[in-house]
Symmetry: C2
Subunit: 347 residues, 2 copies
C-alpha cells in the first residue's frame, strides 16, 4: 500500500451529511405553499405541521362507535394478523437448532369491521394475536370509501407542487401492539394522524449502509391447524409457512431502537430523526427515507392514520445516487467476505 491514506468514502458520506443536516425535524407553523413544499422535496428533508388536520371531519368525529356506524358493523375489511404485531418484518426463525432471519408477512383475512374494532378495543380478547388494518392498496378509496369524504381528497400543496394526484390513499387502524419495521418506499408521503399517536424513527436514504439490508427468505403467518406450518413460540393460534418458490426480499435488518443488534460498521454513524404525531399532525416523509413506526393509544381506543402517496421523481441524480450508495456498500461487503473466505482457506 502507498503512503496515501485510503479513507472510507461511506463513513465520510454519512459524517458530511450529518454536519450539513439537522436530526431534529423542522416544525412548520402551518401548511407550506406549493413552492415552500417543493423546497423540502428538493432537499429531501422531512417536516411536520402540528395540528394541520385538526379541522378535518375525520379528526373531529372518528370515534370507534362512529366508525362502526358509518362503515357498517358487518362490512368485511382486510386485517393483518400476527402473533406479536410484527407484520412485514425480519424474524429470527429457530429451526433444527439453527437460527435464520426470514422476512415474515402477516396472515391476511377478511373480518367484519365491527368484530375487528371490538377485538382492537377489548382488553381481554379471546386470542393473544395482534390485528392491524394496514393494506397499502389505496384502501381509503375502496374498502373504506364511506369514510373518504371526511378527509382531504388530496393534499393541495402537494398536488400543485408535484403536479399529480395521489397514487394511493391508505387508512391505518391499529393499537399499540403493532409496529411497522424499518423500511422505505419510493413515494413522497404525506402522513396524517387522526387518533392516537404514532412514533416515527427516520433515517435518510444515504443511511443505507447503516441498516444492514439482507436478502431474506419470505414466509407468512397462517392460522393453525395448517399442514406443514412451523410452530412459533409466541403463539398457539398462528404458525409460519415458508415460501420456497418466492424470490428473496431485500430488507433492513438493523433496528435503530436496538442499535447493538445486527449492526454494520456504519450503524453507529446514523443519527435517527424521531417524531411523535398527535391527532391532527401532518408529516412530510420524503421519498426513500427509512421509517420505523410504532403507535400508542388509550385503552379502548384505536390509532387511526391516513396517508397520501405521491409519485416520486426518478429523473435527476438522487435516485441513481441512492442505488450507487447501495452498490458501493455491497461491493465493499463482497470484498470483505472474499478476504474472510481466503483467510479461511489458508488455515
Amino acid at each position: 500500500m502507498s503512503d496515501t491514506e485510503i479513507q472510507d468514502p461511506i463513513a465520510e458520506l454519512i459524517t458530511n451529511y450529518n454536519e450539513l443536516n439537522s436530526s431534529q425535524i423542522d416544525q412548520l407553523p402551518s401548511e407550506p405553499s406549493p413552492l415552500e413544499f417543493m423546497r423540502y422535496v428538493s432537499k429531501n428533508t422531512p417536516f411536520v405541521v402540528r395540528g394541520a388536520a385538526l379541522t378535518w371531519k375525520a379528526t373531529q368525529t372518528w370515534t370507534v362507535p362512529y366508525l362502526k356506524s358509518l362503515l357498517g358493523e358487518t362490512t368485511q375489511v382486510n386485517v393483518a394478523v400476527t402473533p406479536s404485531g410484527n407484520a412485514d418484518s425480519p424474524y429470527s426463525l429457530e429451526q433444527n437448532g439453527t437460527t435464520s432471519l426470514v422476512f415474515v408477512k402477516p396472515h391476511e383475512e377478511y373480518q367484519p369491521f365491527g368484530e375487528f374494532l371490538d377485538f382492537l378495543t377489548s382488553s381481554n380478547s379471546p386470542t393473544k394475536e395482534v390485528r392491524y388494518a394496514q393494506t397499502q392498496n389505496d384502501n381509503l378509496r375502496n374498502e373504506y370509501l364511506p369514510l373518504f369524504s371526511h378527509v382531504e381528497r388530496t393534499i393541495p400543496f402537494a398536488r400543485i407542487a408535484l403536479d399529480c394526484d395521489p397514487d394511493a390513499i391508505n387508512m391505518w387502524i391499529g393499537t399499540s401492539h403493532s409496529t411497522t419495521a424499518l423500511h422505505k418506499d419510493n413515494y413522497e408521503n404525506i402522513y396524517v394522524q387522526i387518533s392516537g399517536q404514532k412514533h416515527f424513527v427516520l433515517l435518510p436514504p444515504i443511511c443505507q449502509p447503516c441498516v444492514n439490508e439482507q436478502m431474506l427468505e419470505p414466509a407468512h403467518y397462517v392460522r393453525l391447524p395448517c399442514e406443514g406450518a412451523i410452530p412459533v413460540p409466541d403463539s398457539t393460534d398462528l404458525g409460519l409457512v415458508m415460501e420456497p418458490h418466492s424470490p428473496y426480499v431485500p430488507f433492513a435488518t438493523w433496528d435503530p431502537d436496538s442499535p447493538m443488534l445486527n449492526e454494520t460498521e456504519y450503524s453507529c454513524l446514523a443519527r435517527p430523526m424521531k417524531v411523535t404525531l398527535n391527532p391532527g399532525d401532518m408529516l412530510y416523509l420524503p421519498a426513500m427515507w427509512y421509517h420505523k413506526v410504532s403507535q400508542s393509544c388509550k385503552e379502548g381506543e384505536v390509532c387511526v392514520a391516513v396517508n397520501y402517496w405521491y409519485d416520486m421523481e426518478f429523473t435527476g441524480p438522487l435516485y441513481p445516487l441512492t442505488t450507487f450508495v447501495r452498490s458501493v456498500f455491497n461491493k465493499e461487503r463482497e470484498i470483505e467476505s472474499d478476504i474472510e473466505d481466503e483467510d479461511g482457506n489458508d488455515e
Copy 2:
C-alpha cells in the same frame, strides 16, 4: 475471489443516470413560474428559454459604439490576457524535455474600455494575444455599473423560488478566440446571452469520474519581458510564471470535445448535453454541473453575456453524495495505482 461478480458501481451509476435522463436540453416556451423552476432545481436539470431576454434593453441596444458611449472610452476595465484564449485551464507545459500539466490563469490588467473593445473588434491587432473580460466578481454591479439598469436586477422566478438575491451578477465580453475550460461552480446559474453566440457543453455532477480531475500546479501568464518567466511557444509577448507557494488546484483535465485525450475508463460513458445560446436566450445551469463554454460572433462584433449566480442549497443529500462519488473514484484510483506500484516492484 468468490463466484459473485463484483460489478463496477461507478459505471452502473453513470449508466443508470443516462437511462433516466435525457441528454437533450429541455426547451421551455417561456420563463417558468417559481414553482416550475423549483422542480428543475429539485431534479438538478438544465433548461433553456429561447428569446426570454429579447425585450431587455441590453439585448436591444448593446452595440460596440453604444457600450463605449455608455461606459466611457477611458473607463478602466479588468481584462484577462492569454496567448490563445485559454484562461483558467489545464496547459501542457514542456520544460527540460518533460511535459507536465499545469493550471494556467490569465494575465490580468486594466485597460481603457474603448481600447479593449477596439482590440476585440479589429481584425489586424498589433499583438496576437487573446483578451476576454471575464472577472467573476459581481462586475456588472461594480465595474460595469452604468450598464446594469439595462438588464433585470434579479431573475424574478429564481429570486422567489430560491428566496434570495443573486450573490453575483457577471458580465462577459469576448470573441470567438476565448474558450472557458470544463469546470463547475457551487452556484445555481442563470446565464443570459446578449450578443453573439455561446456554445455550452454540459455534464451532470455524477460525471465526476469522467472528467479526470487532477491536482495541478498553478501558474499564470505575464507580459514579457519578465524575469524568470518561462517562454510559451504560442506567444512572443506572454510568458508563464509558476506559483510554487500556492496550493495545487483540483481541475478537470478531460475535454468532451477531445474525448480520446486525458480520458478515464469512465469518460466514454458520458453523454454531454450541448446547447448554443443566441441573443436573448436564457439558460438554467444547475449547481455543480460541469460546463465548457466557447463562443462565436461576426467580425467586428463581440460576444456579450450576463449571468446571475444564486447560492445553492447545501442541506439535503445531493452535495454530500457528489463528494461521495469523488471519494469512491479517488479511492479506486489509489488502489489501482498501488497495484501498479506493487507490480512494478516485483519486476
